[in-house]
């Protein structure tokens, strides 16, 4: 784990609107009464208390990037046109992991099994958002450190399974981030357990200063 930095117990700021949006809420159209609002708030707070985030990242060098193939310095090859485009200005990238831990999934299952599916879906959406907010936290943390070197991260990040960046490439991330030490495992079909876990990559880019013409 020498090159991998791990953070535990972070409570990242998450966006309630994004949780609502995951649940199909449409501002100005969907109506929520007071009782339902309370159910929603308390379910999201419960999700927050049941998520014990573990975050990790490592920086990797990019030795080659052409024709939809990105070769990392250790020889790992990642394929995907959109990924390759996102990393086109990067000589280094950062691999990231975020997991909300097992407790939240146990609670979601228990709610489903006891006929409280409406709460279960709220916890499910909140946990997804909180795990994602973990990656936002990592990116902001890294950006602050990179900026002094005249660098930034790409605005977007990519996770295996997006577009033509195949889910099977999750295996490379799992190996490079040693996810088992973070409490995450991967199935034969490249799914992460606990379910609310996400792996991603972002590029490091040089920042230029606006020059007067």
């Amino acid at each position: 784990m020498e090159n991998i930095k791990v953070f535990r117990g972070i409570r990242p700021a998450y966006n309630m609107d994004l949780i609502l949006s995951r649940l199909g809420y449409k501002r100005g159209v969907t109506g929520i009464d007071e009782d339902f609002g309370q159910l929603l708030d308390s379910a999201v707070k419960r999700a927050e208390s049941l998520c014990s985030l573990v975050l990790a990242y490592r920086v990797v060098g990019i030795s080659e990037n052409a024709d939809g193939t990105v070769r990392l310095e250790d020889g790992t090859v990642l394929s995907g046109q959109a990924l390759s485009r996102m990393l086109s200005q990067s000589r280094q990238a950062v691999l990231m992991a975020s997991t909300a831990g097992p407790r939240i999934m146990e609670e979601i299952r228990s709610l489903m099994d006891t006929g409280r599916a409406s709460e279960a879906v709220i916890l499910d959406a909140a946990a997804s958002e909180i795990a994602d907010a973990g990656l936002d936290f990592l990116m902001k943390y890294l950006e602050t450190q990179l900026r002094r070197r005249g660098m930034a991260l790409t605005k977007h990040r990519f996770s295996p399974g997006y577009g033509d960046f195949g889910i099977e490439q999750q295996a490379h991330f799992a190996r490079l981030l040693e996810i088992e030490k973070l409490g995450i495992s991967m199935t034969d079909t490249f799914m992460l357990v606990p379910e609310k876990s996400v792996l991603a990559i972002a590029g490091m880019v040089d920042i230029k200063q606006v020059e007067k013409e």
Binding site: F7, R8, V29, A117, D124, R148, V210, K212
Partner: protein, 804 residues
């Protein structure tokens, strides 16, 4: 430069700091992947040239190029053994660059890793990493220090404490805030200011991350509490992607247009961070020269902080409540928990007290035979993880207090410093070193003076000693010393006299309330009456049990009567909310009971049973209830969902209420009617082999059942042959499959092919995050976008089949 000289330095006007150095060095050839500090040591001309241009542009304080020069950061390049040497050399180079025309600030920043409990670096490892750097910078001849671009208040404390342990030079500290005016770790600007200025920072402020406009708000927030100059170093805007390149989007003129608002908000020093250049500083310097800076305050109110919150203790504001429950004295369960190092009980007590209205929590780990140093530190860690409240560290052990103060990520209160020799000699210096407030307990080595006059003499003498450490009245809470009235007639009166004297002499006060009733029956009455009397005598804070409704009621009422709760605003807010809660509790049962239709429509699972039974009582048949109320209601729920007037949890709540309604009706249904809900068709549902994400499928199952389908749910990770067998066994009309991943959705065509081979008539319906209609149709399946679409699709398939 002495700290006093530094303070006076700001009397002359706005102080101009430097701009970005790293990006300027990159323009002079520094590679992005090089160790910046090492590169600068090896290319001194480049560094000197950049820094000289800042001096020529008007910078009065130059930062050494050592932001990443701590041992942990240098270890990333294998250079940790050269920490001292690199820092010394870089400080010397900056001295050379400024040539006596500006001050040199030794620059320190984050080690790039988070401290415990979030990361793997301990507080002491962090302090040690800074130690070598600070020694190198001191050898290089810096005039002062700057700790900058900090995200974590705890790491900032580690750096500041280490500097203070090694020298008495001035220290400037700037944190970096995200949108929303909090650091990434959740500290707001006022809390950072309170923590840092009490810990000995000589200037505080913000740099990097947010835009200049947001920094105006940060400075505005800090200014009313700032006893030190405020400094600001914004970026040249935010990095933006322009034409395929990432750039800072602000030019020097735009950047400098924020100088005036920043100065008017209270900034005393301005400079630039990422993306700025000597041109920015030259223009800034020209503008700043036209303005006069607002001086820092001489005194403020008493302020105490955690890493996430500041509490103000003021004589003109409502009584501050310090929760007393985290004290094992007389609590067997807490003693046992502390001995077992079981912090669940501790965090539960912390949460309960916060919810009951405590502003601060007193934390005491005094259990005979227990390692108090370790236990108090563990308690502090656990409590701060559970609640954002600042803490009062209650111990007479200097070792335990120092261990807890070191890792306490804010400004704590020490409970207590008395006139006893050992307390004056050991605990008072600790309070000074860690910037803590303290409770002044007016007892000395001869014991507790019986009279108020005796106690006041001790207060004066301890305060005199405290002043020599730099404390002022606002850093102290005087304890009135509450003795039990059962032991002496005058006990309460003498305490009240002390409180009155303190109030007239500008001291904040505190009492440990419950001692007063010790030995008496019905203690709560005595405690409550004494609390009211003490507030009348000028009490500003009390250590009490916030779970006592009576005490909290008396506190709120006393605040109003004493004029501390202006216009009874807090009182009215609190009790109006309670009244409305109570009323809603009374009214609810009387509220018009929902009909069965309304209960399903509004997802009222708890009320639907009553509605159904009422309908049955009225003589409605089960079939009438289903046909005229339940089915129209669940259909309406679906329509509202389609129109997005309902969102997913409301759709599901409707289905849950429907499910409950059918459970209630079940015993009343005849055979024919019993089949009505399953008449639409039979669906075998499964999440395909290899896929473990089944919440979506579970919701579809719930909805289908409540929209009249018979559903056989096979679960997740189900092999194709089991799905086919079940479809055969149950003569299924529809096979519903879900998959979340591209790797598992390929199971779906296999199931479809096997169904065709087996000659099944069942239609295949599929859904899942990565699927689309085209993929589904490629193997003859129908695609459902979401759970409700699956219901609509199933209904439509059944119509085509000829059922439903």
């Amino acid at each position: 430069m002495t700290r006093e000289e530094f303070r006076k330095y700001f009397d002359k006007g706005i102080v101009i700091l430097d701009g970005a150095t790293g990006t300027q060095l990159q323009r002079r050839g520094m590679p992005a992947d090089a160790c910046p500090e090492k590169w600068a040591v090896e290319n001194p001309e480049a560094l000197i040239s950049v820094q000289r241009s800042y001096v020529e542009s008007g910078s009065q304080i130059l930062y050494t190029f050592t932001m990443g020069g701590n041992a942990i950061k240098l270890a990333e390049y294998g250079l940790e053994s050269q920490t001292r040497e690199i820092n010394r050399r870089l400080a010397e180079l900056t001295r050379e660059a400024v040539a006596g025309k500006a001050l040199v600030a030794g620059d320190i920043s984050s080690c790039g890793m988070l401290l415990e409990p979030y990361g793997e670096v301990t507080f002491e490892q962090s302090a040690e990493s800074y130690r070598e750097q600070i020694l190198g910078l001191l050898e290089g001849g810096v005039d002062l220090f700057v700790i900058e671009t900090m995200m974590d208040i705890q790491e900032t404390r580690a750096a500041l404490i280490t500097i203070r342990e090694l020298c008495d030079l001035p220290v400037m500290v700037t944190m970096t805030y995200e949108d929303g005016m909090k650091t990434l770790m959740g500290t707001d600007p006022v809390t950072a200011l309170v923590t840092l200025q009490s810990l000995g920072a000589d200037a505080v402020g913000c740099n990097c991350s947010c835009r200049p406009a947001e920094m105006v708000d940060i400075i505005k927030a800090m200014k009313p509490y700032a006893k030190v100059p405020l400094i600001v170093k914004p970026n040249a805007g935010k990095p933006r992607l322009v034409g395929g390149k990432t750039v800072f989007n602000m030019d020097a003129d735009t950047f400098c247009s924020y100088a005036q608002p920043l100065i008017e908000a209270g900034a005393n020093a301005l400079g630039g961070c990422c993306g700025t250049s000597p041109e920015f500083i030259r223009k800034l310097s020209a503008i700043a020269g036209r303005f006069t800076a607002q001086k820092p305050l001489e005194t403020t109110c008493a302020m105490v902080s955690s890493n996430r919150r500041t509490v103000f203790i003021r004589r003109d504001k409502p009584l501050t409540v310090i929760g007393e429950r985290l004290n094992p004295t007389g609590k067997k369960f807490l003693k046992e928990a502390l001995v077992r190092n079981d912090m669940d009980k501790v965090t539960q007590l912390a949460r309960e007290q916060m919810e009951a209205g405590a502003d601060l929590l007193d934390v005491n780990a005094g259990v005979p035979g227990l390692d108090e140093k370790k236990a108090l530190t563990e308690m502090v860690r656990a409590v701060l993880d559970a609640v954002p409240l600042p803490l009062c560290l209650d111990s007479s052990s200097p070792e335990a207090l120092e261990s807890a103060l070191r890792i306490y990520p804010g400004r704590a209160i020490i409970n207590s410093v008395s006139g006893e020799k050992v307390k004056m000699e050991r605990i008072l210096p600790l309070a000074a070193r860690y910037g803590a407030m303290f409770i002044l307990l007016p007892i000395d080595d001869s014991g507790v003076p019986e009279t108020a006059e005796g106690r006041i003499e001790i207060i004066k003498s301890v305060f005199e000693a405290a002043r020599s450490y730099g404390f002022s009245k606002e850093d102290i809470l005087v304890d009135g010393v509450v003795m039990t009235v059962a032991a002496g007639n005058n006990a309460a009166r003498e305490t009240l006299k002390v409180l009155e004297w303190c109030s007239h002499n500008g001291f904040n006060t505190v009492i440990g309330l419950s001692n007063v009733s010790f030995g008496l029956p019905a203690r709560e009455n005595v405690n409550a009456a004494f609390l009211a009397m003490a507030v009348a005598s000028g009490l500003t804070s009390a250590i009490l049990n916030p779970n006592s409704r009576q005490l909290m009621d008396i506190k709120r009422a006393s605040d109003v009567l004493k004029g501390k709760d202006v216009n009874a605003r807090e009182y009215i807010e609190h009790y109006s909310a309670m009244e409305s809660e109570a009323k809603s509790g009374e009214v609810r049962p009387a509220r018009n009971k929902p009909t069965a239709f309304e209960a399903v429509l509004n997802g009222m699972s708890g009320e639907v049973a009553g509605a159904i039974l009422a309908d049955l009582d009225k003589g409605l048949s089960p079939k009438e209830i289903i046909d005229n109320s339940l089915i129209p209601a669940i259909q309406k729920v679906g329509e509202l969902y389609e129109e997005k007037k309902y969102f997913l949890p409301q759709l599901i709540k409707g289905a849950e209420a429907m499910e409950r309604a059918m459970e209630v009706l079940a015993p009343y249904l005849d055979k024919e009617t019993a089949g009505v809900m399953g008449r639409k068709g039979t669906v075998v549902m499964a999440t395909v082999k290899g896929d473990i994400h089944d919440i979506g499928k579970n919701i579809v199952v719930l909805l289908l059942r409540n929209y009249g389908f018979e559903v056989i749910d096979l679960g997740k990770d189900v092999p194709a042959d089991r799905i086919i067998q079940s479809a055969k066994d149950n003569n299924a009309d529809i096979i519903g499959l879900s998959a979340l991943m591209t790797t598992t959705m390929t199971e779906m065509p296999k199931v479809a092919a096997m169904a065709a081979d087996a000659g099944l008539k069942a239609r295949i319906m599929v859904g899942g995050a990565v699927l689309d209609r085209e993929y589904a149709e490629s193997f003859g399946a129908c695609y459902a976008r979401d759970a409700y679409s699956a219901v609509k699709l199933a209904e439509s398939l059944m119509r085509n089949i000829g059922g439903g």
